[in-house]
Amino acid sequence: MGVRFPVAIAATFALLCTLGASAKDTVKIVFIGPLTGGVAANGLGGRNAADLAVKVRNADPKAKYTYELMVLDDECKPNVGVQVATKAAADNNVIAGVTHYCSTVAMGTVDVYHRFGLPVVVWGAVLPDITYANDYKEIHRVNGTMINQNETAARFMATLKFKRWAIIHDTTDYGKGHNKYFTEYLQKNGGQILGTFGVTADQQDFSAELTRIKELKPEVLYFGGITPLGVRIRSQMDKLGVKAVFQGTSGIISDAFVEGLGPLAEGVIAFREGAPVEKLPGGRVFMDQYAKGGYSDDPEAYGPFAFAATTLVLDAIEKVGPNRKKVRAELNKTADYDSVVGKITFDDHRQNAVPLITKFVVQNGKWVVWEDSEYASGKRSLVRK
């Protein structure tokens, strides 16, 4: 007995080793985003893109591990986000995460990831504080922040000779952040703000605010918030005869925005960090693979970022093995990494330094890059008669 037991262990161990050589170990990573609620379209697009990245890797015979994607829904609500983040972070089998579209949720969950030591890459939330208000080595971000976005937005709108703005923003961290940075940069560029209106994120009726704005006669209405509210405000502007140009943020760059407004979306302008996917070397490949994946929803604006974030995480695991600390250290070092959204380089706060901001305008029911649009060539005008 005393002899046989160690022998049995040794035999089992040997067996396991041979098994390990033929079948790959399974490694789990988590995707978190809003899969239900008003911005679910963006969450589902991100989820599909992350899923695609995992499938592509699993189909690669050279991959060292088989990957499993755990998908959780944060509903774009901070309380739910903290709950699911804790669930993922407390699960030791989960090695890393690709997390959050909504800034308010990401703000709530960064502490959780730090506490449990789970390295994550943010794929869509743009509030600067997510990476800059802490020094958590676990938090990385592939998309840019609203600081770069609004700086470009203010400068660009000034070159179009607009002078007078009114601002509507939602009162979440996201909307307030946009208001703060846009106001700051607009004043530097000589723009004048006639009135600022905070609104709740689920407000239906804007007739009172818009009637006041009508009285102020701005040339541009800046909106800091996300798609559902943007659709309502643009639509009600038309009802009340507010003729200002509608300027949005990355939060309204979605197919849902154009679908929700129909012809009224024409001439809406907005800004997003990163180059448009179609123009990147890997972008075409991403779009083709996504189309082949048979997903029923569009990837939306941030799908490519979710794909890039997931691929980045998988590459780190491939390189250093399924260990949270090692993966974290590997992600921290990321520099000049080629991805579908361009080069990724993390700064000292693990924020991707994305120098490029792309300007978009809706033309014939599509978000078109400004430089390619008939608005830039002078064929159409943003100003409504």
């Binding site: 009162t171 009637t211 009508k214 009285e215 559902p228 639509s235 849902a256 929700g260």
Partner: protein, 307 residues
């Protein structure tokens, strides 16, 4: 502020008031006859709007180039008729079986039913999570007098809402059905003893209330040109508050409450020096004060003129 803008705010507020009143009347009718609070009412508003939307999508999708008036009529009939039946069914299978149970149970079961309706629309309507454009079928022109814009469609909707409210008033005060509803509201046992069919009357009341909710949903959709699966949440909360400040169980109270709430929101956004983000805080806080002042509502029900 010049006169044109004041007029604009008044029209905006009146439109809101009509929508709120339509929702509030439902709450107050249900409470009147059965002493229950049906928390899924806001989601019935939403379901009505989506029924209309699906009807128009079906008609347009079938390729037949129907005139807008026909499409609009079909949408109204489908939404209002559909929700009347739906409301009666909810009363029959969810509310009436719990009649002997504590009223809290009805409140809970309808709260859950509301969540089921909301999530079902989100999941089963194509791309249901996104805000949906609502067809613009009303004439789009407007009278413009200086800064004042009065759109034809807003005017039509305003008139429709007011007519609906007047019709409900006439049904309740001038018809046999109305008499039966008032009798059941006052004393179900005595009413039954007098030969008034209790179940039938309750079902009819729920049908009327839900039809009004559907109308509110369609008016809301046509006014804002957009509907979403969660539009019923806030509308339900506001409709309920409006019914309570007016005096639960009193139809005129609900109408008054609806317009008061709309006025409070407009005042909150327009006249307060603080940011308009606080307009709902202001409106709901004012509701709390009103309730502290008149706990039974402004037009508190007397048993004699209940419903």
């Amino acid at each position: 502020m010049d006169l044109a803008l004041i007029a604009q705010h008044l029209v905006n507020g009146a439109m809101l008031g009509v929508i709120y009143a339509l929702v509030a009347v439902g709450f107050t009718l249900f409470f009147g006859v059965l002493d229950v609070i049906k928390f899924s009412h806001g989601d019935v508003v939403m379901l009505g709007a989506f029924t209309a939307l699906a009807t128009s999508a079906g008609l347009v999708g079938s390729g037949s180039a129907l005139p807008p008036a026909i499409v609009l009529a079909a949408m109204f009939i489908a939404a209002v008729g559909g929700m009347a039946v739906f409301g009666a069914l909810m009363a029959k299978f969810l509310v009436l079986p719990l009649r002997k149970a504590p009223t809290l149970n009805v409140l809970l079961i309808t709260l859950m039913a509301g969540t089921v309706i909301r999530e079902a629309v989100r999941l089963f309507y194509p791309q249901g999570s996104n805000p949906k454009p609502f067809p613009r079928l009303l004439p789009t022109g407007a009278w413009e007098i200086g800064e004042f814009t009065l759109r034809y469609d807003s005017t039509i909707l305003l008139v429709t809402g007011v007519v609906a409210i007047v019709l409900v008033h006439l049904v309740i005060t001038r018809t046999r059905l109305g008499l039966a509803i008032r009798a059941v509201a006052q004393d179900p046992e005595t009413a039954s003893a007098m030969g008034i069919p209790f179940h039938g009357t309750v079902l009819a009341t729920f049908a009327i209330g839900s039809a009004l909710a559907a109308l509110a949903g369609v008016v809301n959709g046509l006014y804002y040109s957009e509907v979403s699966f969660n539009m019923g949440l806030l509308l339900g909360a506001i409709g309920f508050s409006a019914a309570v400040i007016g005096g639960l169980g009193n139809v005129y109270g609900a109408i008054l409450g609806g317009f008061i709430f709309a006025a409070l929101q407009t005042i909150g956004a327009v006249l307060l020096p603080i940011a308009s983000a606080y307009k709902d805080v202001f409106a709901f806080a004012a509701v709390i004060l009103l309730m502290a002042w008149k706990p039974g509502g402004l037009l508190a029900e007397r048993s004699a003129d209940r419903v």
